[in-house]
Subunit: 261 residues, 2 copies
């Protein structure tokens, strides 16, 4: 099943995507899927970021092909266990919304990733229990300033700057990510293709490990790490993150217009 | 004026504290203070964390007397500009709620701090404009695991573990923090007293600088840094953070009861 958060007539609602229509849900999908009989054409809604999360998590050092670059740009040793970080909720944007690069930023890279969407409140869950706490998966872009900001350790602006966290287009609930492929395109050119099975710390482990210390809430998003060697984007570019079985998250890149200082 | 978020008859509401009574507000205090005529005795309500924030920010290296310890426990050089971090929203607790130490943690320190409460959405505001974006101030405790977790860089569990972010008891809207004193007591013994005027990066600068990159939202909280040399707490302890002109934030310390693994 494909669930999406959509804008329709000035309100944001959850819906099931059924071919060229969406069918609205009676309530958010975290406490059971409750479809209504109200359907509208897909063309009449706008896809939004898949949830309004309380916490927007990122995880790094999670594909063998990205370890070297991550160590170099962050100035960190390669850790054995995940070291998640929080992205400010202002970084979360939806499909087709622009990634806006502030003039203070140096090299701003795409990082195409699989995103875990949390269904149930999770604290100290085992990996097996964690599977039941996952609603599904979407695509995400953990946009990162790599010239200097990643070396500030907390990533508060390296990865938390407004618009630096596109996610979408919808939440696929029946996906086994181990069988899927993650592809990143810049201006239509394939920059990286990875079998998600190469992921080091799998979603169920990530949820279990993180929940040892911090409660994961319904709707929380976890970016599960980039693969390959990422590259900088510039205004005018279009970046696409595709997970087979989910779809394409496409975002244009713009320079921040400084109306004032 | 003293504003508080309180629990009364199973609901959480904002109120003005008037001596031994609270007077409820018609709506949250971020879009103007709208008092109702409904008053109840202070003894009949429970003080909650001062807001439900979208982002819970911390800032470090912000008092001369804390710089050396912060550099040592985090393994970082002393930075010239703030390097904020986000605490998971599950870390936010109110007055009298227990700080719960997981068995995996080593030395867990108190960090008594002044907390800025954001009133208006702020992005790229000047320090002068930032003053108008601050609703007021409260007390906070940026509880931190300093044995090893601070060296994980992002502080996701060092400072973001559930219950590691007490704040309260209320929001003082007419305070000039430059004239106030920050005091931390452990089991009644004064551990540190600081003139808040010693703060390196002042609230208006912090809000302005952070807003250059990330939107600050109504109700967001910013812990502005600890002073002095902090020490570890143990189960059974009671920690108090007092800012003169605001009040005392008191929290007991407990070991996590492991009902399951």
């Amino acid at each position: 099943m494909r669930i999406a958060r959509v804008a329709f007539r000035n309100s944001a609602r959850y819906a099931i995507v059924e071919d060229d229509r969406v069918r609205f849900l009676a309530e958010p999908p975290f406490d059971g899927i409750k479809p209504t009989q109200e359907r509208v054409p897909l063309a009449e809604v706008k896809m939004l970021a898949p949830t309004e999360c309380m916490n927007y998590w990122g995880v790094g050092f999670n594909y063998p092909a990205h370890l070297h670059q991550a160590a170099e740009t962050s100035g960190q040793d390669i850790p054995k266990l995940p070291r998640p970080w929080l992205k400010g909720v202002g970084s979360l944007i939806g499909p087709d919304e622009p990634i806006i690069i502030p003039p203070e930023a140096g090299a701003v890279h795409y990082e195409g990733e699989l995103v875990v969407v949390i269904k149930k409140k999770a604290r100290r869950v085992t990996p097996d229990e964690a599977k039941l706490c996952i609603l599904g998966y979407t695509c995400g872009n953990d946009v990162s300033e790599k010239k200097e900001w990643e070396r500030e350790h907390t990533f508060w602006r390296a990865k938390g700057t407004d618009t630096f966290g596109p996610a979408g287009p919808g939440i696929e609930t029946d996906l086994n990510p181990e069988r899927e492929t993650l592809t990143v395109r810049l201006n239509g050119k394939v920059m990286d293709t990875t079998n998600i099975s190469a992921m080091i710390h799998k979603p169920a482990f990530l949820v279990s490990y993180m929940s040892t210390f911090t409660t994961l809430y319904p709707g929380d998003l976890i970016l599960t790490g980039a693969s390959g060697v990422t590259q900088a984007m510039k205004p005018g570019d279009v970046v696409e993150v595709e997970v087979s079985g989910i779809g394409v998250l496409r975002n244009p890149v713009e320079a921040e217009k400084m109306a004032r200082k």
